[in-house]
């Protein structure tokens, strides 16, 4: 159950692109054609599935406060968490290189479709962001970390695939000239993000106790905005559907 909840939450509610804006650069740059978008999306899932659990291990056994206990009692007070940026990015960069070499050697067909995207991925914010969120959300176990990596990757895949499909279609539309290309892509992404916000109620809805608990923690001002936003989000999502249809 925990796994299923995390899985859907990372794909829809906390979608990498629409909720946290991670991986925006490659999302905008590589979404002109569906085929390339699929390639990049698959590469992101692949790399995230490897790097997030790996960084989880690093975080648990080297970086966290007291994580060095396994070396002996005198190391138990060490807190190396300030090194996490450099450790995570180094892991990602080396893993990407390693994956590139392995895939090239053992699966040339996969390499031909993913190959050019792999170096791009080292500097994709979604990958580092996945690891940093894994750390700040305190994901509890290795299998949950793996789950989180894969499902966040799938969320990115979904986002880049939809925007690529829309951009292929929108080429035939008559858009005001200054908005063409980048401008309209931004606005469509905004509308899609509004649509994705309506998934926010998916995990809390129905269970009365859980919702009351959650709103109690949220401060009054935030609470207010969330209420407004949900109504509007649903309304706008409906409008968006009409427009798309």
């Amino acid at each position: 159950m925990e796994h299923l909840e995390l899985f859907f939450k990372s794909i829809f509610v906390d979608n990498m692109v629409f909720a946290t804006f991670l991986g925006m650069c490659s999302y905008l740059a590589v979404s002109k054609k569906v085929s390339t978008a699929v390639g990049l999306g698959a590469a992101v899932i692949f790399v995230m599935a490897i790097t997030v659990p790996l960084n989880w291990l690093l975080d648990q056994y080297i970086l966290q406060e007291g994580a060095l206990k396994w070396l002996g009692e005198e190391y138990a007070t060490y807190d190396l968490s300030f090194l996490s940026f450099i450790m995570f990015i180094a892991t990602i960069a080396t893993m990407v290189q390693l994956v590139e070499i392995i895939v090239e050697k053992f699966a040339p067909a996969l390499y031909n479709s993913l190959g050019i995207f792999l170096p791009l991925i080292a500097v994709n914010c979604a990958i580092l962001g996945g690891s940093l969120f894994m750390q700040s959300r305190e994901i509890a176990s290795l299998d949950l970390a793996f789950n989180y990596g894969v499902s966040s990757g799938i969320g990115f895949f979904l986002a880049i695939l939809t925007i690529a499909a829309i951009r292929e279609k929108i080429r035939y539309s008559n858009i005001p000239a200054p908005l063409r290309g980048l401008g309209i892509t931004f606005i469509i992404t905004g509308l899609m993000a509004i649509g994705f916000m309506s998934f926010g109620g998916m995990l809390t809805g129905g269970d009365e106790e859980e919702t009351t608990e959650k709103t109690a923690i949220v401060t009054p001002s935030e609470n207010n905005t969330i209420e407004i936003s949900k109504e509007e989000a649903i309304e706008l999502a409906n409008n968006e559907k009409e427009i798309i249809e």
Binding site: F21, L28, V123, F186, G190, T225, S229
Partner: protein, 215 residues
């Protein structure tokens, strides 16, 4: 501006408008949008990027002849990561609340594509002083967009600027004669950042038609 030659000056002014990193080069959008719900956070983020970009460009440019081309990405990442750790520790020490607001996005400066993009495109091929100026110019171009977006989102979203009340309380609270404004909470949410940037691009390209893309 007597210190800078015309060519160097262009390195600063170009990214501010016609070659803006966000709206034209499409770089560094990731961290730009998520933290612009407050003007203060945008300004701090801009300063952090300015620091990292200026010094990062300088460092890479000084090392450009000794970096082996094959591992240059890892070298660049390590340089940026070191600078970002400095920024992160300084923020945690002097502005703890703000560093909570920025959360992982300080760390994400590492993968900010503007920085990597400028390293690749400029610092590896130019001298240290020009690289430094280029870094500062691009960071300023990034800052301009961040501050515009942050300004409108905070003003319309919570009626404040830098935490000070600008647009008054709702009409019900203040009575008929006061200037009433109902906060548009929607501006504070993620999607509006994208739409605001979309509008900035629209305005910019309407003013300068040579920037228009052909579908």
């Amino acid at each position: 501006m007597g210190l800078l030659s015309k060519k160097d000056l262009k390195l600063i002014t170009d990214p501010l408008a016609d070659n803006n990193p966000i709206t034209i080069q499409v770089l560094g959008i990731c961290s730009a949008l998520a933290i612009t719900a407050e003007l203060k956070a945008s300004i701090v983020m801009s300063i952090a990027v300015l620091f990292v970009m200026g010094l990062g460009n300088l460092t890479i440019s000084l090392m450009r002849n000794i970096i082996p081309p094959k591992i240059r990405i890892i070298v660049q990442l390590i340089v940026v990561a070191t600078l970002v750790i400095i920024v992160d520790l300084v923020l945690k020490a002097f502005a703890y609340e703000l560093s909570k607001t920025l959360s992982v996005f300080v760390g994400l400066i590492i993968t900010n594509c503007i920085i990597m993009g400028r390293f690749e495109a400029f610092a590896l091929a130019n001298g240290p002083i020009r690289s430094f100026i280029d870094g500062v110019g691009n960071a300023l171009g990034y800052a301009v967009i961040l501050i515009i977006v942050g300004f409108f989102r905070e003003l319309l979203g919570s009626g404040t600027l830098l935490g000070f009340k600008v647009l008054g309380d709702p009409i019900e609270k203040t009575g008929v004669y006061a200037f009433g404004y109902e906060n548009n909470g929607f501006m504070l949410l993620a999607p509006m950042a994208l739409i605001t940037v979309g509008i900035i691009i629209w305005v910019q390209r309407s003013r300068n038609t040579s920037l228009i893309e052909d579908n």
